[in-house]
């Protein structure tokens, strides 16, 4: 498939008929095993077109005796929201995750939706040490009962690998490993390190990064240290550090890194194996274990060394990442160390231009290879069971489409013709890689075991950013105490005593509601009319540069979601049109001079839009009786094992 064909297929309306085989078996009996593959971000339209033209031969073969359908996903079609629906069989109101980013109504501050950290509350001081008496904890904010709990009750061996919205993993007898939402050891969702001899680069304040100047002496030696997590036992919470030394050989474009007894030799462009780091909290008594990988970016005129975020060491996890606790260790001991960070590919390093596209691909492919290795192990184990369920999740298709989209999209404002000559088919290549995973599965799994291959949403170009806070300001719904707002946040400059609405998150819009927000002024009796008014105006918005409508749907949360966790929901969920998405800064309360403007970033494909524009993928090797929705999948898994749908599940079995 050529790039222009790729563009055509991604721009086309979803009118094509999808695959329905007549040879498919109808699943009417209780099964002993069920396999579910979660391919985050797999777009049904791309799958359909590529399978039809023979570019995905294994998927085509799978569909000769199976089904491909577009699947309804959640509003908004964000991974933690949609996979939450898969976990519980409910709509977002049933488990309380509405966005990657929620807000605290007391402070209007953005906060991570999926979990909360509760710090230790009582300490005793011993000299300079501060010893916690009552430990802190991490709380999973996703409510609802996970479907694998019903499998446990029926004595069915279950493995759930890296499903999003499950950090920390819910207590369970099932083997579960946390995925999206798992932080690094700095408590962030991925902060990388860059050591650079480029003075200008060393002065940059890059988001999601720590940048250090690398000074080399005349012998080509550099000494530095890695600043890790804060010492939890010290009052000042000074960072724990690990010194390291680099010997640079510019002639052969290589470097040696000496760190804690490890000697790592790297050529320019080479990624190191996993390196174990030991941050000593109390020497010889207590330590925090981390794993990292180095990538030598430049080793000639400039020295530039990338170090990955400090991942939790699965052999000795400092944070709760699996149930049972031994599961993470089991995988590491059998297969070697692996990524534990929720979103493992370092998209920020490419967005920040720390990575070239080639550097990113080196890291990206290593993650896909690692996932395949673990999948092969888990599939063998699954096949050896008498009765069992395996859910295995892949993040690569999602993260790859986010970063590679512009390479195949000449209409994208961030299209780079030179890079595109070399990497323009990366998105299509990724689908081919996933076709191989399907082929591997078909070769291994007996025909009578039900298989579902699902995604949580499709994909589309992200060419234009929409700053909803700036729009609210222009429309008079948001008032500021300054006229100089470009680059400021609503937390800094909003006049809450006269503002009626604000936006936080990638799709959320909140009213400044009396009795809920700290300085709420909208009376409950005014709420409905105000929501309807803002909804109508959002739908009428025009992009002044293109004439297009940036927003194709607006949902009023109380009209569409169940009530259990409705109190956490944005009042309105904004569904962007194809090519548009929430502005990055608006998602955390930022204001920009322009309301709608070009997205100049390698993060060039996205899905946080109107769910009708990015429907999910559903494929199965058995007959389904109606059009699928994300929340139907857990009820289907249970039904395949002969378990009745729990009454509080919204979803219904597809068999």
């Amino acid at each position: 498939m050529k790039r222009r064909d790729f563009l055509k297929l991604t721009a086309a309306a979803f009118a094509a008929p999808y695959f329905f085989s007549r040879n498919v078996f109808a699943s009417t009996r209780a099964h002993q095993k069920v396999l579910v593959l979660g391919f985050d971000g797999m777009d049904p339209h791309i799958v359909y077109q590529m399978a039809r033209t023979g570019e995905l031969p294994n998927i085509r073969k799978f569909l000769e005796t199976g089904y491909l359908e577009k699947m309804n996903t959640t509003p908004p079609p964000q991974s933690p929201v949609a996979w939450g629906s898969f976990i519980t069989g409910k709509d977002p109101g049933g488990y309380g995750i509405y966005d990657f980013i929620h807000r605290d109504p007391e402070t209007y501050m953005p906060k991570f939706s999926q979990s909360d950290s509760i710090p230790a509350s009582h300490f005793v001081k011993l000299g300079s040490w501060r010893i916690p008496l009552k430990g802190g904890k991490i709380i999973l904010n996703r409510g609802g009962r996970a479907f694998w709990e019903y499998l446990e009750a029926a004595d069915i061996d279950s493995t759930v690998f890296k499903v999003p919205s499950n950090y920390p993993p819910e207590e369970s007898e099932a083997r579960t490993l946390a995925g999206m939402g798992t932080p690094d050891l700095l408590g962030t969702y991925g902060t990388y390190y860059l050591f650079t001899s480029d003075e200008k680069e060393a002065q940059k304040d890059l988001p999601g990064a720590r940048v250090y100047y690398a000074y080399f002496n005349d012998y080509g030696e550099m000494e530095s240290e890695i600043e890790g997590p804060a010492n939890p036992l010290k009052e000042e919470e000074e960072p724990l550090t690990i010194p390291f030394k680099v010997y640079l050989d510019r002639g052969s474009k290589a470097a040696r890194i000496d760190i804690q007894g490890n000697e790592i030799l790297l050529k320019e462009g080479e990624l190191s194996p996993w390196v174990e780091l030991n941050f000593e909290v109390i020497p010889d008594v207590q330590s925090i274990k981390a794993i990292v990988r180095f990538l030598l970016l430049d080793a000639k005129e400039k020295f530039r060394l990338y170090m990955s975020p400090l991942c939790v060491d699965p052999k000795d996890p400092a944070l709760p990442i699996s149930t049972p606790k031994s599961y993470a260790k089991e995988l590491a001991e059998k297969l070697g160390l692996f990524h534990t960070l929720g979103l493992p590919a370092d998209t920020k390093a490419l967005s920040n231009l720390t990575f070239s596209v080639g550097d990113f691909i080196v890291q990206f492919m290593s993650i896909l290879d690692e996932s395949n290795k673990i999948y092969h192990y888990e599939l063998e184990r699954f096949l050896s069971l008498k009765k069992g369920m395996l859910f295995f999740y892949y993040s690569s298709l999602d993260q790859g489409q986010h970063m590679f989209w512009a390479l195949g999209d000449p209409k994208h404002p961030y299209y780079h013709p030179e890079e595109s000559k070399k990497y323009g088919n990366m998105v299509l290549e990724l689908y081919r890689r996933f076709d191989k995973i399907v082929g591997y599965t078909m070769n291994k799994v007996p025909r009578d075991i039900p298989i579902m291959i699902i995604s949580d949403h499709g994909f589309n170009p992200f060419r234009r950013r929409v700053n909803v806070n700036t729009w609210l300001l222009q429309e008079g719904y948001l008032k500021l105490n300054t006229s100089d707002y470009d680059g400021a946040t609503i937390m800094e400059v909003a006049d809450w005593d006269s503002s009626v609405a604000y936006s936080i998150g990638l799709n959320g819009l909140y009213l400044n509601l009396e009795g809920r927000e700290a300085n709420g002024i909208v009376k409950p009796s005014q709420k409905r009319a105000l929501m309807e008014e803002i909804k109508a105006k959002l739908l009428a918005l025009r992009d002044s540069d293109t004439g297009d409508r940036p927003i194709s749907a607006v949902f009023i949360s109380e009209d569409i979601f169940s009530r259990d966790y409705l109190y956490r929901a944005p009042d309105l969920i904004i569904g962007f049109n194809r090519s548009y998405r929430m502005d990055n800064s608006s998602a955390i309360g930022g204001l920009t001079a322009k309301t709608v403007y070009d997205n100049m970033d390698w993060w060039s494909g996205d899905h946080c839009i109107d769910p009708a524009n990015v429907m999910a993928t559903f494929m199965s090797n058995f007959k389904i009786i109606r059009k699928p929705s994300m929340w139907d999948v857990p009820a289907t898994i249970l039904k395949l094992f002969g378990i009745e749908t729990p009454p509080d599940m919204k979803g219904k079995p597809l068999v």
Binding site: Y189, G190, P309, K348
Partner: protein, 60 residues
């Protein structure tokens, strides 16, 4: 120009005790130190959450 702040007698007595124990030169220095500390923590708290979220990639 310095501003006056009213606090209760009880709080003032506690402040004087802290001045003695912690080695501050005056109640004013103690109050200014505590305000600075709170102000810094507030600022760090806000920026910290934003920095944490930027790791997601969606908003970097």
């Amino acid at each position: 120009m310095a501003k006056k702040v009213k606090i209760s007698d009880e709080a003032y007595e506690k402040a004087k005790e802290l001045v003695e124990k912690k080695g501050y030169s005056s109640v004013e220095e103690l109050v200014e130190h505590l305000i600075d500390k709170e102000y810094t923590e507030e600022g760090e708290g806000g920026g910290g959450e934003e920095e944490r979220l930027k790791g997601l990639g969606y908003i970097s």
